[in-house]
């Protein structure tokens, strides 16, 4: 009899235990393309989020580089196997926005998750504007943001008789400094990575000229035409080809390839993403300085502000409201100033929210880490105009490839700068028209 009682009590307690036990957390898969230090950082952030509550569990999956991840996202969507969240590079924004049935806009996710105070103005203006639709509502969640900056070799500056704390602010100054550097016996003063991004796109925003019609693609997908075959861009490319002849400028190839020209000490200055700050600091053998991108003086309102590069997180359709509440909670966690500060410190990407920027300023982070605020200062230099909100184009990757091809032809003297820009514009317009057709928005 007593044994039966004990067993009954035991059963009751077990049942109570089960009743009080929590249900397993809802799994939310997050695809991303972050390797190296940013990879460690995002995994830590996700881990901490999972530890901070028990309702949701975000699972990070590294899918390869940005292009690979986007290709897989598309294949997964077509097979109805898409993840709940995926990081997409910034130039995929138009493609994602045009795929309305495939995505859930972030503003909707946050609203339904109960975060009524969430809106575009939480973010730094240039960042918020970049990822919002025509009504100013956020479509994607900014994750990693960067801008091009000018890195320079302080040692070479000293040896050439230049003030190592006074980098050139304008292109004519850069040319002047460059001539001194060449005179001092060096073979290259300046090079640049990511030519289409830096010398065409960011150049246009920084110097406040339009890149394409339709407010750089923000006003719509239809009838967007390239405008960068203009006199200022021509002036820039012509200047670069002229400087090539005197050795001031050296073309280093596409993408990141030119970086080794700088790190090896061959070229004294180069423009590259602010996101490379961390890896550059650890690989250069000389004192390195950072400065904003040069601009052309005597143009109205220059320098304006820079546009962000990087990537954001998009939310994919096809999951239950519970999952989206978890996504909202994760985003809310991501926007915390402490998390943002950790992200900025570990990776070299900027903080994306106003609150986090304020906190970083107050904590003296930028004083302790010279050069870490160049990019964010570029971004917040002036309130964005229609030319500097961002660039949102379809077939953007192919347009960049076309632009890179054209610039390559100019720098290897197969085409004159004018011919190169005309070639680039013609092909870009074709790609833009095709995108309008592809997304069913052409008239």
């Amino acid at each position: 009899m007593r044994i039966l009682l004990v067993i009954a009590l035991g059963l009751m307690m077990t049942l109570c235990g089960y009743a009080g036990a929590q249900p397993p957390p809802i799994r939310i898969v997050f695809w991303h393309s972050l390797a190296g230090k940013p990879g460690f950082a995002i995994n830590k952030i996700t881990h901490d989020f999972n530890q901070s509550q028990h309702k949701y569990k975000v699972i990070n999956m590294y899918k390869g580089d940005y292009n690979t991840t986007l290709t897989e996202l598309i294949a997964a969507y077509r097979a109805h196997k898409q993840p709940a969240m995926s990081q997409v590079l910034e130039i995929g924004t138009a493609t994602m926005m045009a795929a309305k049935p495939a995505i859930v806009p972030v503003y909707q996710v946050m609203q339904q998750g109960g975060y009524q105070h969430f809106n575009r103005r939480v973010f730094l203006p240039a960042i918020g504007l970049y990822y919002s639709n025509a009504k100013g509502q956020m479509m994607a969640m900014p994750l990693n943001a960067s801008s091009p900056v000018l890195y320079y070799n302080k040692t070479i500056f000293k040896k050439a008789g230049l003030n190592p704390n006074h980098p050139p602010a304008t292109w004519p100054e850069l040319a002047k400094d460059g001539r001194k550097i060449i005179k001092a016996g060096y073979h290259c003063a300046y090079t640049s990575t990511w030519l289409s991004w830096i010398q065409l796109e960011e150049f246009s925003a920084w110097n406040n000229i339009p890149f394409t019609t339709q407010a750089n693609g923000f006003a719509g997908v239809n009838k967007v035409k390239a405008l960068y075959d203009n006199s200022l861009v021509l002036k820039q490319i012509t200047a670069l080809t002229k400087w090539e002849k005197s050795g001031i400028f050296q073309y280093g190839g596409r993408g990141d390839n030119a970086q080794t020209l700088f790190t090896s000490g061959h070229c004294a200055m180069f423009t590259q993403s602010s996101g490379s700050r961390g890896s550059l600091l650890s690989s250069v053998q000389f004192a390195m300085g950072m400065a904003p991108m040069p601009y052309w003086p005597k143009i109205k309102n220059t320098p304006q502000n820079s546009i962000i590069g990087g990537a954001s997180i998009w939310v994919m359709r096809g999951y239950s409201p519970k999952v989206y509440r978890g996504v909202a909670a994760f985003f809310h966690y991501l926007m915390r100033p402490k998390v943002q500060a950790f992200w900025q410190k570990e990776t070299g990407y900027m903080v994306v929210t106003k609150a986090a920027y304020k906190a970083s300023l107050q904590s003296g982070y930028y004083q302790r880490n010279p050069g870490s605020d160049v990019a964010i200062k570029e971004l917040t230099n002036k309130p964005p105009t229609a030319n500097s909100r961002g660039i949102r184009l379809g077939n953007y990757l192919q347009i960049r490839m076309v632009n890179d091809t054209a610039l390559e032809a100019a720098f290897s003297h197969q085409m004159t700068p004018k011919q190169a820009l005309r070639y680039a514009e013609k092909h870009a317009n074709h790609l833009l028209a095709r995108f309008a057709e592809m997304t069913g928005t052409s008239s």
Partner: protein, 293 residues
């Protein structure tokens, strides 16, 4: 062709061919049909909007200077690789055929490049020609020739051509050697007795007798240059600089996987299918017909 002595058990036969048929249908025909189908549409990457455009994708390709350029590059590339590998393979085969001592050693060494994957061959040659540290640019610099295949289109094309040729020479060598061994020696001996020297014998007798195998190798080399050289281009130049090494296959990959334009990529695939059909038909019609002596 069916053997005179055969079985009539149908179900077993179906079971035996099933694996191959299954893989063939799922992974060969279904994708081919898909490519064919998608080549008639323009659609966004997600497949949400797509509309039927008849032959527009094809028309646009032939109006695109980029596509026509890739046709040209592919043609130049495959012609150069074919010629180089034919001559290289024949050269080595003739030499190897003549020697008695050390023949197996020579043969083994000459076969080695075939074992190297094209992508690996690309890395190996790239190392030798790297503008920063390569040994060849170093020597070329000494005689005043500036080598940088990242900025010079013709240098890049030259580099991928010799890499592809290097890799494929073994294949041609093997076939030429096998053919040389099977040539009737009586004819050659008669010519020798008549006083014809080795070079004369080669050009008037040997080489013409090798024409069937040469023709066969031309087709094979072209197929190799068209299709199997993707790895080389990806690793060495990624189609650049300025599309100087963008072959048709590479463009299919770029437009499909990077550009996410499935309509155009599919149309390009269909065109490639036509090319290969033509080459295969030629191969089987004209070569299978030739009778060995």
């Amino acid at each position: 062709m069916l053997k005179r002595s055969h079985f009539k058990v149908k179900t077993l036969a179906y079971l035996l061919v099933l694996p191959q048929m299954l893989v063939t249908v799922v992974f060969f025909f279904w994708p081919a049909l898909k490519a064919f189908y998608e080549s008639f549409f323009i659609e966004d990457p997600f497949g949400i909007h797509h509309h039927f455009v008849w032959f527009r994708n094809f028309v646009e390709l032939f109006h695109s200077s980029d596509y026509l350029h890739s046709l040209f590059i592919t043609f130049v590339f495959s012609l150069a690789v074919t010629v180089l590998t034919l001559f290289g393979g024949l050269f080595f085969a003739v030499l190897a055929d003549r020697v008695t001592k050390g023949r197996t050693v020579y043969q083994s060494l000459l076969i080695l490049p075939y074992a190297v994957a094209p992508a690996i061959a690309g890395v190996l040659v790239r190392f030798l020609f790297d503008p920063a540290i390569g040994i060849f640019p170093y020597w070329l610099d000494k005689i005043g020739y500036h080598w940088n295949y990242n900025t010079h289109a013709s240098q890049a094309l030259f580099l991928v051509i010799i890499t592809a040729a290097w890799q494929q020479i073994s294949y041609n060598f093997i076939f030429y050697l096998a053919s040389l061994k099977s040539l009737p020696h009586s004819v050659l001996e008669a010519a020798s007795l008549d006083g014809a020297g080795p070079f004369r014998r080669f050009f008037t007798i040997t080489f013409p007798m090798l024409s069937p195998i040469t023709f066969f190798l031309v087709i094979i080399n072209m197929l190799y240059a068209f299709f199997d050289t993707f790895g080389i281009i990806q690793v060495m130049t990624q189609g650049g600089p300025a599309n100087a090494t963008q072959t048709m296959v590479y463009k299919v990959y770029q437009d499909g996987f990077l550009g996410l334009d499935f309509g155009s990529s599919s149309a390009q695939s269909v065109i490639l299918m036509l090319v290969i059909v033509v080459l295969t038909v030629i191969q089987f019609r004209y070569i299978e017909k030739k009778v060995h002596y």
